[in-house]
């Protein structure tokens, strides 16, 4: 059965910011120069070809875009300046939009206006609820929070809390749906989920270890940098800076979770552990974020020379969250009360909520899908990444 060529799809991916992929004359330099392209995992040319010809099924089912760390070597050596690296980034956006059943992700990638609009709308909604919290009953006594700007104050905190939990639960479902969707598509070529039965427990254990190792060491990203050896000092190379963001993120996640469980759940003081962890995480992450922002402003490296609204969104959110988080810390410690502190709290809370709610829709979703793709890749190709 011949595969149908569909010119519409390539148009759609191009709207997501693919490089000038029509320049490509299919010499294969990009794949050959790529330190991570091997055997079955053949990219970026094949991914680019699938986009060019609009082989949508094949594109949606390919895990390859997630295996790319965008070192930019392919774009640098492309004799036709077709910018395959950027095409891979666009492919990831396309995939996120395809994994997302709501269709919102695609809309946001294609239309920066919608991204802004949706972010503002959701923000306004969340702010409304935030300002509606009737905080009276909560945290009487030793409220860890600064005083709360409760402009409307009509919804009891418990209700909000319950709704929040419900929304949280829903988010977890959405995340899992996205992951499931991605896994389903990625496995499609191998015979669907049934293919998973082929592997033994030991395979899963090995793949899990490989994934953990990869997350801990970012080795593949390091491979990207090593050839040719980067001229940048190690502390601004992506392997390190991405690592700081990831580590900071994880540390903050743990700290917040500890807070949630101990302070809100068990009503226990747990600051001694959570707060230093949070501070460290915030600082470490802030470093990475600032380096990234600085590089994007200077268009210093291949992967920062094109900046899409989605990139700005993510950087903006993380930086604002990080900075306002520290501000809150200071405010809490100083016991400072006032309008400004209320505003900061509002911004931090609203954006944090938004960040969580939009997790599967924005660029941060790579944190879900890349590990998944890597896991399946390790599962499928035992030698990979060793």
């Amino acid at each position: 059965m011949a595969t149908k060529v569909d010119p519409q799809i390539s148009q759609r991916v191009r709207e997501l910011g693919a490089g000038d992929l029509n320049q490509c004359y299919h010499c294969g330099t990009c794949t050959a120069i790529c330190p991570l392209s091997e055997g079955d995992a053949s990219f970026p040319r094949r991914v680019l070809r699938n986009i060019q010809l609009g082989l949508g099924d094949r594109l949606v089912a390919s895990p390859e875009p997630w295996l790319c760390y965008y070192c930019g070597e392919c774009s640098d050596s492309c004799p036709q300046k077709a910018d395959p690296g950027e095409t891979m980034a666009a492919a990831r956006r396309y995939l996120i939009s395809k994994y997302d059943p709501s269709g919102l992700a695609g809309l946001m990638y294609r239309s920066p206006a919608f991204l802004v609009f949706f972010t503002l709308l959701l923000g306004a909604l969340l702010a409304f609820f935030h300002l509606s919290i009737h905080v009276g009953k909560h945290a009487a006594g030793e409220a860890p929070f600064p005083s709360h700007w409760a402009a409307f104050a009509w919804i009891p905190y418990e209700t909000i809390h319950l709704v929040g939990l419900a929304v949280g639960g829903l988010m977890i479902l959405v995340v899992f749906a996205g992951l499931f969707n991605a896994a389903r598509l990625m496995l499609k070529a191998h015979g669907g989920f049934a293919a998973l039965r082929r592997y033994k427990v030991a395979d899963y254990r090995r793949a899990t270890m490989q994934l953990a190792h990869e997350i801990a060491t970012m080795k593949r990203q390091g491979d990207c940098e090593s050839d040719p050896p980067s001229s940048e000092p190690w502390y601004v190379q992506p392997r390190f800076t991405h690592g700081t963001i990831l580590a900071g993120f994880v540390m903050l996640l743990i700290a917040t979770t500890l807070d949630f469980f101990f302070v809100f759940g068990l009503k226990m003081q747990f600051y001694a552990v959570a707060r230093p962890l949070g501070i460290a995480g915030g600082l470490v992450m802030l470093y990475g974020l600032l380096v990234y922002a600085w590089k994007r402003m200077r268009r210093a490296t291949a992967n920062t020379k094109t900046t899409t609204p989605a990139d700005i969104w993510l950087l903006f959110f993380l930086i604002v969250l990080d900075v306002t988080g520290f501000a809150l810390l200071v405010i809490t410690a100083a016991g400072w009360k006032g309008v400004a502190s209320d505003v900061i709290l509002l911004v931090h809370s609203v954006m944090a909520m938004e960040f969580v709610l939009m997790f599967t829709l924005t660029k941060i979703a790579h944190a879900l899908y890349r590990p998944l793709a890597l896991f399946l890749h390790f599962l499928n190709a035992p030698k990979a990444g060793t």
């Binding site: 011949a2 060529v5 004359y25 299919h26 094949r46 070809r49």
Partner: protein
Amino acid sequence: MTQKRRIGVYICHCGGNISDYVNVEKVADAVKGVPGVEVAKTHVFACSDASQQEMINEIKEQHLDGLVVASCSPKLHMFTFRGMAKRADLNPYQYIQVNLREQCSWAHTSDKIGATEKGIHLLRAGIAKCALTHPLNAIRVETKPRVLVIGAGVAGMRAAIMLADMGLAVYLVERENQPGGWARVTGEQGPEKQNGDQVVSALAERIRQHDNIMLYTGAEVVSKDGSIGDFTVALRLKGSETVSLNVGAIIVATGFAPYQPRAGEYGWGLPGVVSLADFRQLLSETKGRLEYQGKPVRSVAFIYCVGSRQTESETCPEPNAYCSRYCCSATTHTAGLLRQLDAKIHQYHLYRDVRTYGALEKLYEKARTDGALFLRWTPEKPPRVETKDGRLSVLVTDTLTGNEELEIGADLVVLATGMEPRQNEGLNSILKIPESTDGFYKEIHIKLRPVETVIDGVFVAGAAQGPKALAESVASALAAVAKTGGLLKKGFVDLEPLIAKVNPEKCTWCDKCLQACPYGAIKRIHTGEKEIALVIESLCKGEGACVPVCPHDAIEIEGYRDDQIMAMIDASLKEVATP
């Protein structure tokens, strides 16, 4: 040959290059007694001005009638000493150079006695040959300052104008009723972006203005006679009137024939499957929306290499194995024209190798950036064109997509057809220009002499010699003009006299020499009682292919005659008193 020869022999030391290994004085002594040798001397540098002057004086004073210089390779100084002979009023063809350096002293640096001995042998052979020389003069062929150009396509027209610009009279003959050839109907030419029709009109206008060009349309060449510099050609004009022309040279610019696909070849015959030329015409006629047979065209598939690079198969018993050179650039150029007309039309280009060589690469690049998709197939799995749901469907196994079979919906399938040699038996039988294996006219040497044919005075230009793009065709036409100019501009050509000569007494006309000569330089004549062969001096190249085939030793090459070679062999074997 009874008269005693007076030969001067000069042996060069080459400042030691020869004399360090060959005892030149001994060689001189050894040849002093050879019959006919009048002077035998050595010079430190025979080629120096002083030595040359000395030799000239001696030739004149001693009335020498033969000259042998034993020095370096004739490739270096034969012309020097021929010139010197001329200045001494000695016939240059009575000068013989003996290669005593490259083929004696330098090759035998470890054996001085042997080298000296060999030197004597070589010199004796040279003297023996010289003794049998007689004065020869360059063969002067008067040439007529008129040229016949066959074919008034762009190549022929441009050649005609250039010839006229150079001061030659031109007869330009076209079989069709108007000049211009294919360029007239194929629209814009890439990458120069000139419209073929306009190019043709401009050329036609220039031809009209030239007094020196006579254009015959609807005319055909019906006979040709004569040889280089002086041909008589008959034309049949419209209405069976004939004209006889007398020209010095002929340029054949008869162009090509477009390949006609076989029925079913890539869907040929299905509605919507058209040739590139047809499509170009459709494009040039379309204003606004592109439609084919009333239906809008939203997707076009181009199939490359149709009628080119073919392999033999049942359906294709006589394949065109050659690449037609122009089609890749013409098709990628067409992609640009189509895009200009309607950017929304999807284009699929099914190619084998995109041969947009040199600066034509820009056409390919533009086609890609304009959004044309390129798919690569191999002859093992050629694309198939079918009708499916009332639309054309092209199935192609794309090697760029992991050899996957892809299906393309198309409203039009355009076959990029190649060039074929023009079937022109009438003209071929008149001109007798050989064909290459690809069927196009054969040049003498693809690199050295690409516009000359084995028929001296007959040149081939443009696509008649092989597929070419328009600009290339014109360049080749002008190259033919340059060669024609070299032939006709001076009013004569001087040819080497070292050519074949028939001994009428021995010749019995068996036609073996005629068979052997690739240049058509042998002609049968009647002399009184018998038929014999005659060498057409202006056509003979003097390579001697006819010599060994003659059963009666009746044909010889001047300068390499039987008696000379035999004498050389004998002289080179004469014992040398051991030094």
